[in-house]
């Protein structure tokens, strides 16, 4: 039987751009170019490697996001995923992590899966909670923050490098996995891959396709509220000296003045 892998990928504003908030205190997605979250490229890469090692596997990439989020799906398809699902609905604007996990879980169930692979965190929200929430919602094991992962005979194994220890983990499929940026460099799409991606199927689903109501998602349905967002005041310009043989001593003098020595 074929191994059905669903990779969740997020379309995010470029971190090197000038990111800011819109008037309704949601992330402004208009002024900064978007792209496939770099941390989700690692998830796509591990899916491709797992699929290569399996007899028969199919990789579906899934995103919940605005129209432009198709770019993220296209990138993942050009890396080698087989097909894509785009959940898009105007009512999704402003959805929080709990809501996003609801939509993703519904879509994953509808698509059918043996293995879900996510990134360690999105590069905009950086919460790193969606994979755990997916496992909770789907009622399957969570095997997260892996820097090494393999799948064999219906069992997923991996290494989780935590603060206090490095742990070896194991769970039976179906399961939700997330991988870190230590899991292995993501491949670049080849020219052939980019051409092939143009012909791969991208399905669009809206809330009604997932039997979800508008009130369950979006800014209204969010269980958290942002009351204010303020640009951090620019740091006041510091003192910069050129080392002409005494740089280390000058720095020590500064640190002593600040009572660090």
């Amino acid at each position: 039987m074929s191994l059905r892998i669903v990779v969740t990928v997020k379309y995010v504003p470029d971190a090197t751009g000038d990111r800011h908030f819109a008037d309704d205190l949601t992330v402004d997605r208009d002024d900064v170019d978007g792209l496939l979250s770099e941390l989700d490229e690692y998830a796509v890469e591990q899916a491709l490697q797992i699929a290569e090692d399996a007899d028969d596997a199919e990789i579906t990439v899934l995103t919940v996001g605005p129209e432009d989020a198709k770019d993220a799906l296209r990138k993942a398809l050009s890396m080698g995923a087989d097909k894509a699902i785009h959940v898009e609905d105007d009512d999704l604007h402003g959805t929080d992590a709990i809501g996003t996990s609801l939509v993703l879980a519904k879509a994953i169930e509808k698509a059918g899966y043996d293995l879900v692979i996510s990134g360690m965190a999105s590069t905009d929200g950086t919460m790193g909670v969606v994979p755990a929430l997916l496992a909770e919602r789907l009622g399957v094991p969570q095997v997260t923050l892996l820097s090494e992962v393999s799948v064999e005979d219906g069992v997923v194994k991996g290494r989780r490098d935590g603060d206090a220890a490095s742990e070896q983990l194991q769970a039976s499929l179906p399961a939700v996995v997330s991988v870190t940026d230590q899991s292995g460099e993501a491949r670049y799409p080849s020219f052939k891959g980019i051409m092939a991606a143009k012909k791969k199927p991208v399905q669009s689903w809206d809330l009604s396709d997932l039997d979800l109501e508008a009130e369950e998602v979006g800014l209204e349905g969010a269980w958290t509220a942002v009351d204010s967002a303020a640009a951090r005041p620019a740091r006041t310009a510091g003192t910069i000296v050129k080392d002409e043989g005494e740089g280390g001593k000058q720095l020590a003098e500064f640190l002593a003045g600040q009572k660090f020595i």
């Binding site: 971190a15 909770e136 094991p141 997260t144 194994k157 269980w223 509220a225 951090r232 050129k242 720095l251």
Partner: protein, 320 residues
Amino acid sequence: MAEVLVYVDHVDGAVRKPTLELLTLARRVGEPVAVALGAGAADTAAALAEHGAVKVLTHDAAEYADYLVVPKVDALQAAVAAVSPAAVLVPSSAEGKEIAARLALRIGSGIITDAVDLEAGDEGPVATQSVFAASFTTKSRVSKGTPVITVKPNSAAVEAAPAAGAVEALDVTFSAQATGTKVTGRTPRESTGRPELTEAAIVVSGGRGVNGAENFALIESLADSLGAAVGASRAAVDAGWYPHTNQVGQTGKSVSPQLYIASGISGAIQHRAGMQTSKTIVAINKDAEAPIFDLVDYGVVGDLFDVVPQLTEEIKVRKG
């Protein structure tokens, strides 16, 4: 006064500093009730009492060490049911965030992660967060259910505030999911004898400019002269010069020390994301145009192989 649950991060009964900081914040919102799980749980009580815990709910079972995350969620959920708290505070470690998220979903509550401050508000606790690589500061609330909030290390001062800290056994029934992910092996991280990166008052970091694993000894000597933790940029980690556990930045640790010293680090946005909230920032870089200099309180344009040893020597002399 309403009770506030505080999830205790401890190693065999030794309470880690971020938990003590949480007790400081919890006291702004209510009476702290601590939840300590696993081996040594009851040994945490004295430290927790000294910092304001009125009660310490404890439970030990093999499941906490043998399976990932879910047993702890089950226990915290049992504590919520027992106490009906006004809020639940969890340290913002990778595991802490996962526990908090699953708990929030189960109890029908919103979740805020990575708060850097917390105050009482008319509509419940208000959390301050630092977002977009610390370029914005937001204030947020949980608008549904019992607020579940994870708080970053170094977000509050540890304060002594003696309280009863009465130990009570927590009744926990594990869910069917609890044993889903088995921990089949564990290699504890070797202690370096230096302070914990996220908890340290001073962090000394090296980047690509350090140019080799062996040269990190320079960074370590400087760190040791100041009693500091050692950090590294991703470039240095990817090159294999320093362990990933010491990486500072978006995909590494987020630090907020009193003093951050960057040597041979350019200051890319992903690195800044993990250190920009440091109180005082110092950089040594031979390129006067390096973006890190936009952040510094004091910068030295120069070769780190000259500046760092001289600085270390001078610190030793001054400290006597």
